[in-house]
Symmetry: C2
Subunit: 178 residues, 2 copies
């Protein structure tokens, strides 16, 4: 990247395209030889199509998934307190990764939901972002981005659902919606 | 794709993420072994990062670019009439590709702009979409999607720019914005 500005992006809103735009950005950056850290929160069990592709691009894209199967995220018989602690551990790991200065672009997919749910602390997240090495570009996705994050960000896009087929009862399909 | 519904998606609006969401969708679909045709209109000369990645996925993603260098799109000393004819040829080619029934997902990136500019005819495009083989999913991107297309579509997302760094004079950067 010629100009390493290290901007902060947010993709929020109810419409389609938040995670998909983040995936697209990861691919575009990797295609330009940037190093990407793609962190997925709250994803279901099976690996999604994009993760399979990312694995083939592992020279440029590193993936961390915190899903229902991930030991540090969900434990058997988990309580809300357990989830909060797990999210804290997850943020700590991300902080270390970002501080290593190995990445040009760090995507925290669905992080906004963690904050909305009260599982992660917005101030902790903002602190990690503020203290990142110079030039690291940050992308946050998920519905309900908090006001503080919007205030902090450079790029904020609201994906507005003008029409959405789920309202007609169509279910999410593999390869398109997930 | 278990359920081949063949929905029509539109990504429009002034915000970031229209093309990037389409790229993300192409990658997700390819990762699930769907066949993708990714058509880029009006892109600048140099190949973007995503196209480099798509080339590595050529078993599942076929790319057609109509850019300033493409012989059927821009010719030396082109007039508006020349552009309209070139766009007509481009749509004809796309129609044939779609009718071949080799693709599960067809992305027409920036096609909305062609229509807004008056270079392509919305009725011709709608006709191609209506006559597609059953189950082919269509994605249209670009600002200013026309009312007829929005009416026809199943999925419409408006990428709304809540904050955009270009307003602060920051220029587009390779690997992030293109």
């Amino acid at each position: 990247m010629k100009e390493k500005l290290g901007l902060i992006h947010i993709y929020t809103g109810e419409g389609k395209g938040k995670t998909t735009a983040a995936i697209g950005l990861a691919v575009r950056a990797a295609g330009n030889a940037l190093k990407v850290l793609f962190v997925q929160f709250l994803k279901g069990g099976e690996e999604s199509g994009e993760i399979k592709i990312f694995k083939g691009l592992k020279k440029n894209i590193e993936v961390i998934r915190f899903d229902q199967r991930h030991p540090i995220f969900f434990k058997k018989g988990d309580t809300k307190k357990g989830l909060i602690n797990a999210a804290k551990d997850a943020l700590k790991l991300i902080d270390e990764k970002i501080k290593s200065d190995k990445y040009d672009l760090v995507i925290l997919d669905e992080i906004n939901n963690l904050i909305v749910q009260g599982w992660a602390d917005v101030n902790e997240l903002m602190d990690i972002i503020r203290k990142r090495p110079k030039g690291v570009e940050i992308v946050l996705t998920g519905r309900g981005a908090s006001d503080e994050l919007i205030e902090m960000a450079d790029y904020v896009t609201e994906m507005k659902a003008i029409k959405h087929p789920f309202k007609k009862g169509i279910k999410a399909r593999k390869g398109i919606e997930y």
